[in-house]
């Protein structure tokens, strides 16, 4: 048995347990993504990093065994900033196709964490409670969900209203490209969107460039000029 301090709370745990398990015993939640007990414990996603106060190093809690006198902090500023960066890096290499992804709503762990740490980049579609068949776009309604930053739990769609884009646009060409494809497949044109776009998006510093990119993709779509080499 070894004594450890986690977030100022003292605990006595068995030798060989991980920091993550010890924290769980104390009721402290540490977020994880790649960790899967007994199946995958290789600490590759680094979301679960905590700060070791003694050495000042960041350690992955899911694979780091406790030792006598270990003193870690699981939620200080440095930890949160590293986790935020980890999420941003994941999003940078993540293929954001929330509309066709089966993990919608609360099932997407990445979305939950992004919301918690204020990382923007996932569209509202990811948390829209409506399924693909019931999607408002299918009824011909102009919904800004595919273009807008998630974080609202999709309350508008819950009440059967289409997204107004109040949380602003996502500045990623692959997301915009995906959205334009979706709009086009439902017969929604550039003009339909532009009418709605100005209302909230116009306060964004990127408004002009977003409109430009959307128009560009619509143009390409009309001419059937999709080239998919950037689409891994």
């Amino acid at each position: 048995m070894v004594r450890v301090i986690i977030d100022g709370k003292e605990a006595t745990v068995e030798d060989g347990t991980t920091v993550l398990e010890a924290a769980k015993k104390l009721g402290i939640e540490i977020p994880t993504l790649c960790y899967f007990p007994n199946v995958f414990e290789e600490a590759t996603c680094r979301i679960c990093v905590v700060e070791d106060k003694k050495t000042g190093k960041m350690i992955p809690s899911c694979a780091f065994p406790v030792s006598e006198g270990l003193n870690v902090e699981t939620n200080n500023e440095r930890v949160r900033s590293d986790r935020k960066l980890a999420l941003e890096v994941i999003l940078a290499i993540h293929k954001i196709k929330c509309q066709s992804c089966p993990r919608k709503g609360g099932r997407c762990e990445l979305l939950v964490l992004c919301k918690e740490y204020g990382v923007e980049g996932i569209p509202v579609c990811a948390e829209c409670p409506l399924h693909e068949e019931d999607c408002l776009l299918a009824n011909g309604e102009v919904c800004l969900g595919p273009l807008t930053v998630a974080g609202c739990d999709g309350i508008c769609m819950h009440s059967n209203r289409s997204c107004e884009g109040c949380r602003g646009p996502i500045m990623r060409t692959d997301v915009i490209k995906e959205a334009v494809k979706l709009y086009s497949s439902h017969g929604i044109t550039l003009e339909n969107i532009l009418v709605k776009l100005g209302r909230y998006y116009s306060s964004s510093p990127y408004y002009d460039s977003v409109v430009k990119v959307i128009a560009q993709f619509f143009n390409k779509n009309n001419k059937n000029e999709w080239f998919d080499e950037g689409d891994e």
Binding site: E42, T44, V49, A86
Partner: protein, 659 residues
């Protein structure tokens, strides 16, 4: 190529029927018996024969010995041909001399090197020898006693012609500041002969070690203050002590010869020129921690190094330096050479363990450390080639002599490899604590082609890029880390002012991006983001927030990467950002490359005042972007120009201006 140059009775064979040395019957005094005449029986003739043999090894057959530097560096510039040419010449003249292939002595810029020694004449070293001038050199030296064309002399005797024109080896700048401690045999002995190593004082350290207890050996290494030469600088004795006290049998010891840094070759040089010293160190380490099996993990790309290490192990096994009951000490030890499939990450301890076990070479989270849970889950010690060579030398010479050199916290000497834009490139062994300025400007002779010093990348792709203001930094583990670089393996890549620092940062990032194993997120995705951002800056699309992105991602990689590869990968970016920020800003804000390297930011124009209207530029332009103007002179169409630089190379007057 057969390197068995000494015919006749070997020092290792039994001298007469009275000699009772056999592998089956190990003896405590085997080495001393070989070197100091037979101890097991008294026979004046045997003793004389042994002394004759040792002198023959040292001075050559018939008093003439010719050595050819045949390390990888020498072979690359034609030492093989030189060796055969010398053989042919000697045969034609009917001379009786020894021709010995040796390793690299660190003077890589002067290869191929040939050293001729004759009794009574100064030992002369000739540099840049070609098969054509071999005959002339032999004539001059052997027949006329003329050394005036030599590169350097090992000693002066005063009876050779032109002796005063040639400097002593100790007097030339590259050698003057060096301390030959661990590289003492490099370029002197035949690396493929255990006999030569023993004749030059080899295996005496092992001889002494086996008479001490393992605790005493660790104590000796502790007193010497030796720290790991692989880069991190962990005290060697502590590593051994932890492993010795760890539970579990058997224990393993591994020699890390997986040197992969671009611009670092000290391990290759040591193992190619003196492989038995490394092996001796490995045996000593195994004795100290109680290991019974060892591995030498060597890079397969460095084929000569792997070959020589394999040969050394074979030979050591043949003469009972490996195997059961070594020198009747009751200590059993065996070694296997493992060739890696060549990934940079294999140099990381846990990835190396995985590779030896036969799994994919990926690092794992530490703890548990290899000292307690290493190879096959057993306690394992992993030491660098240079560390082990130091161990062998320390055990032979005693810790006091080693601890004379170095600084308070880092003792001893370190081999540094100087490459890049330096005037003299090669490997130099200097005491730790020597300043970077001394290394680059005194030993390496400054920057070649009269250019200006800009930066130096220390420690390979994981190290940092230090500017001129950091040149007076003493090279030791602590001060380099505080400057943002690392000691690493000890490679110094000198960068002159014709290089763009952003491009340099991208070069090293490309290397780490390609070599990242892909296991953990920060290294896999972070290095890609760094690369993309740097490429964007170089291509002229840099945004103001890009510097922030670089800093943030670098910090995240440093904090959260799994192994040292990812933790140190952003060092080149961070240090160049720290010391050369204005160059990044010029790229981003002014879309200008101060060093005129980044092609997309360049503009070629023709200065009409200088142009003579010869038309060579237009002829050489591959995209036909140069046209004749009304006044008979030429101009470049910037829209068509692909910035290849052909016109500026073709112009006889230098009228093409890069901007």
């Amino acid at each position: 190529m057969p390197l068995d140059v000494h015919n006749g009775l070997s020092l290792m064979d039994a001298c007469c029927s009275q000699c009772n040395h056999k592998i089956e019957r190990p003896c405590k005094d085997y080495i001393t018996c070989r070197v100091n005449g037979p101890l097991c029986h008294k026979d004046v003739e045997c003793k004389e024969r042994r002394l004759r043999r040792i002198s023959e090894i040292r001075n050559g057959k018939g008093g003439v010995k010719i050595t050819v530097g045949m390390g990888s560096c020498g072979l690359a510039v034609g030492a093989g041909e030189v060796y055969h040419a010398i053989k042919k010449e000697v045969k034609q003249r009917g001379l009786e001399v020894s021709i010995v292939p040796v390793g690299c002595m660190g003077l890589c810029y002067a290869e191929p090197l040939v050293e001729i020694r004759k009794d009574g004449l100064p030992h002369a070293i000739y540099s840049k020898v070609t098969p054509e001038n071999v005959g002339k050199i032999l004539d001059e030296y052997l027949n006329n006693g003329d050394v005036s064309n030599a590169f350097a002399l090992r000693s002066r005797t005063g009876n050779a012609r032109g002796e005063n024109k040639v400097p002593l080896l100790e007097e030339i700048d590259f050698y003057k500041y060096q301390v030959k401690w661990v590289t003492r045999n490099c370029g002197i002995i035949n690396p493929e002969s255990i006999e030569e190593y023993i004749a030059h004082g080899g295996y005496l350290g092992l001889n002494r070690t086996l008479k001490l207890s393992p605790g005493e050996v660790i104590e000796e290494v502790k007193r010497s203050g030796l720290r790991g030469r692989g880069g991190a600088g962990f005290p060697t004795w502590l590593k051994w002590d932890i492993c010795r006290k760890a539970q579990g049998e058997p224990k393993y010891v591994i020699c890390n010869a997986d040197e992969g840094d671009p611009g670092a070759f000290m391990n290759r040089m040591l193992a190619e020129a003196d492989p038995h010293r490394v092996l001796e160190g490995l045996i000593i380490a195994a004795y100290a921690i109680g290991a019974t099996y060892g591995y030498i993990f060597v890079r397969a790309e460095k084929a000569l190094m792997a070959e020589r290490l394999e040969k050394a192990v074979d030979e050591a096994r043949r003469y009972g330096f490996l195997g059961k009951n070594i020198f009747n000490s009751g200590f059993n030890f065996n070694v296997e050479v493992v060739r890696s499939a060549g990934a940079f990450v294999c140099g990381e301890e846990t990835a190396m363990l995985a590779a030896i076990e036969g799994r994919r070479a990926m690092p794992r989270q530490r703890p548990p450390y290899p000292a307690t849970h290493g190879l096959f889950g057993k306690p394992t010690t992993i030491n660098n080639v240079e560390t082990l060579a130091h161990v062998a030398t320390i055990m032979a010479e005693g810790w006091e002599k080693f601890a004379r050199y170095g600084t308070e916290r880092s003792k001893g000497t370190k081999v540094f490899c100087i490459t890049g834009c330096a005037k003299r490139t090669g490997a130099a062994e200097v005491p730790i604590g020597t300043t970077i300025r001394e290394l680059i400007f005194k030993i390496a002779g400054g920057i070649r082609e009269g250019r200006k010093f800009k930066a130096v990348q220390i420690g390979g792709p994981s190290g940092g890029c230090l500017p001129e203001s950091a040149l007076d930094l003493p090279i030791d583990y602590e001060s380099l880390t505080s400057a943002g670089a690392i000691m690493g393996s000890g490679g110094l890549v000198v960068i002159d002012d014709s290089n763009c620092i952003v491009d340099v940062a991208r070069f090293f990032t490309t290397f780490t991006m390609a070599e990242a194993c892909g296991k953990c997120l920060p290294c896999r995705a972070g290095s890609k983001i760094l690369y993309d951002t740097l490429s964007r800056i170089i291509d002229g699309g840099g945004l103001e927030e890009d510097l922030e992105v670089l800093e943030n991602v670098s910090k995240f990689m440093k904090d959260a990467s799994l192994c040292a590869l990812g933790q140190t990968a952003p060092n080149p970016v961070l240090t160049t950002l720290k010391y050369f920020r204005e160059e990044y800003e010029a790229h981003i804000n002014e879309k200008r490359c101060p060093a005129k390297v980044c092609k997309k930011l360049l503009n070629y124009t023709i200065d009409k005042d200088v142009c003579i209207g010869c038309g060579l530029c237009a002829k050489n332009c591959p995209v036909e972007a140069i046209f004749k103007d009304i006044d008979g002179k030429y101009y470049i169409d910037a829209e068509r120009c692909i910035r290849c630089g052909q016109c500026s190379m073709a112009c006889p007057r230098g009228a093409v201006v890069k901007r």
